[in-house]
């Protein structure tokens, strides 16, 4: 015991006896404090949960990441979303978004990439050009943004973030330049771009800029581009047969289906009984098993289907009564043996529900592997479309209520202190 201790003890002995201690008031204050702490912790936890749900379901602030590996160990898309919402914010497509399940075009002409979980990114302005998604959803092919004269075909690797530009392939507009065309090949922007089944090449209607016989321009990942002549006049490119044949549809008075190899040599011809009068380059579509050819036409209510093994019509695929076939350039999607003709009313014939606030989906393109893997149920599947707004409203209400209760309690405490 130090000398100072004794002096301090002597100092505090008398005055400390005047210090009143009230255990009841202290206990009551402790209970209030504990409740306040619990309420604050509860509000904080609720806020955290709401924020986590918001972030998790909207993809907001979620770092770009690669999706789980698909079939054969390749990074691929794992399905398609069963519903596409109208998020509060949509980011531009980053360099490495991971595999996409599909591409959708809004009424405004804006294209969006959609992941298997329904997350969306805005694609660069396509200027009425239709992009194409590889079968495994990992590559996006189409023209980059920019003036028609300067537009170049490019293939974007959505997993690695690499872009392979085809400097020799434009849209043909450069042939009008005074100093001559700046590209040796062109691809018609209003023509379908089709991926080979193995996902290593894309083919689109086009040819040499200026003079030369047109056909299909084949473009590979290495930046190579070659032209395979088409098998005759009045033919539409309808797709790949395996990885080494191209299929064309002759629409002259004697309709015919033609398969050629990559050098342009005809390998197979199938005479068809008839074709609709009004057709476009988007009308023909080959089934994934290459057995059926579907023919759709603008404003039709059904799609005509031919069995290529017999050359006979195998039936009509009726569309829903309220549907109207898209009048814009949009390819047919196959689900098993059923051709899904794009319509304004339904996306994938109702398999994908879309938020009404998105407006009409004028076109949707889906990766073959995504269709094969099937729909992915969204976390918010059973919630109303406006669940974000409702959640934010509830949260704001809870915060207001908590603030009001706290204010009333504090006011009461101040009043009691003032009166007593």
């Amino acid at each position: 015991m130090s000398h100072l201790h004794e002096q301090l003890d002597d100092l505090v002995e008398a005055p400390s006896r005047q210090v009143r201690v009230d255990p009841a008031a202290a206990w009551a204050g402790g209970v209030r404090r504990r409740r306040r702490r619990t309420a604050l912790a509860g509000a904080g936890a609720t806020l955290a949960v709401v924020l986590v749900v918001l972030v998790a379901t909207s993809g907001w602030l979620t770092p770009d990441r690669i999706q789980p590996a698909g079939r054969d160990g390749r990074p691929g898309v794992t399905g398609y979303p069963d519903r596409v919402e109208a998020p509060w914010w949509v980011r531009d497509l980053p360099a490495r978004p991971g595999p996409l399940a599909g591409l959708v075009e809004l009424e405004s002409g804006e294209w969006r990439g959609v992941s298997a979980s329904g997350r969306q990114w805005r694609l660069p302005d396509q200027q009425d050009r239709t992009p194409a998604l590889s079968p495994d959803g990992t590559h996006l092919a189409g023209f980059g943004a920019g003036d028609p004269e300067d537009a170049r075909f490019e293939v974007r690797d959505l997993v690695r973030g690499e872009v392979v530009g085809m400097d020799q392939v434009g849209i043909g507009a450069s042939s009008a330049r005074a100093d001559g065309p700046s590209t040796s090949l062109y691809v018609s922007p209003q023509q379908p771009v089709v991926w080979s089944p193995d996902g290593t090449r894309v083919a689109a209607r086009g040819g040499p800029t200026g003079a030369g016989r047109d056909g299909a321009v084949l473009m590979g990942f290495g930046g190579t581009a070659t032209v395979t002549p088409r098998p005759g006049r009045a033919t539409y490119f309808v797709g790949w047969v395996g990885d080494d044949r191209l299929a064309w549809l002759g629409t002259s008075k004697d309709p015919v289906y033609v398969e050629i190899d990559l050098d342009g040599e005809v390998l197979r011809r199938v005479e068809l009984p008839s074709l609709p009068d009004e057709m476009s380059q988007w009308s023909g579509s080959l089934s994934p098993d290459e057995r059926f050819l579907a023919i759709a036409w603008p404003r039709s209510t059904s799609a005509l289907v031919y069995d290529l093994t017999t050359g006979q019509q195998s039936g009509y695929t009726p569309l829903s009564p309220t549907s109207t076939t898209s009048e814009v350039g949009c390819p047919t999607t196959w689900v098993d043996d059923e051709p899904i003709v794009p319509t304004y009313a339904d996306v994938l014939a109702g398999r994908v529900r879309t938020d009404p606030r998105l407006g009409e989906i004028t076109c949707s393109i889906w990766a073959t592997d995504a269709i094969a893997a099937g729909p992915q149920r969204s976390l918010t599947d059973r919630l109303p479309w406006r669940w974000r707004e409702i959640g934010a409203g509830v949260l704001a209400g809870l915060l207001l209520l908590a603030g009001s209760v706290t204010w009333r309690i504090r006011r009461g405490v101040r009043r009691r202190a003032a009166t007593g």
Binding site: M1, S2, H3, L4, H5, Q7, L8, D9, D10, L11, V12, E13, P15, S16, R17, Q18, V19, R20, V21, D22, P23, A24, A25, A26, W27, A28, G29, G30, V31, R33, R34, R37
Partner: protein, 183 residues
């Protein structure tokens, strides 16, 4: 958990009755004012009560830590320090060697009030609660070297203000080694 009238936990009430006087003495030492000490004790008890079920058999230590932290924090929150008469000249100690006890207490109180609350907390813990430097550092949530320097500064100021009272004061009333030996 047993409760008495008004919902007060019986064990808490017993603990307050047992430790209330000691808490009041520490609080007065930290504040130098009966009313401020009363507020400090009550605030400390509220904090202890709010965590009573989780304190088990360690309420004394928790109360000591809370009280010293509150004493320091209160000063930080105040717009200005409490009114104090600060002069360069040390207060007179009554009649010098023959000063009575009241004068000695007054002199010591005024000397203590010239310390910062943190220095006062260090003096309280080291010289009144008789904690070691390590224990003091743990209570205040600072390093041992900080406790040493604060102690040195505090004692120097006390000696400066009240030399007659504190001439025989040592800087190390309870060293850690001494504490070990005492145990």
């Amino acid at each position: 958990m047993a409760c008495v009238d008004g919902g007060v936990d019986a064990e808490f009430e017993q603990w307050v009755h047992a430790r209330g006087a000691a808490l009041a003495r520490s609080a007065y030492l930290l504040t130098g004012d009966v009313h401020l000490a009363e507020d400090l004790v009550q605030d400390t008890l509220v904090r202890v009560a709010s965590r009573w079920r989780r304190l088990d058999d360690r309420p004394d230590g928790y109360a000591r830590t809370v009280m010293h932290h509150l004493a320091v924090d209160r000063w930080r929150r105040r717009r200005s320090r409490p009114d104090e008469v600060l002069t360069h000249a040390p207060p007179e100690a009554g009649g010098g060697d023959g000063a009575d006890e009241a004068d000695r207490r007054l002199l010591l109180r005024r000397a203590l009030l010239q310390l910062t609350p943190r220095e006062r907390a260090v003096v309280s813990l080291r010289f009144y609660e008789d904690l070691t430097e390590v224990e003091t550092a743990r209570v205040l949530g600072c390093s041992t070297s900080t406790v040493k320097s604060q102690t040195r500064v505090a004692l120097a100021r006390l000696r400066d203000v009240a030399p007659a009272l504190l001439d025989d004061l040592t800087d190390h009333p309870t060293t850690d080694a001494g504490e070990e030996a005492r145990r």
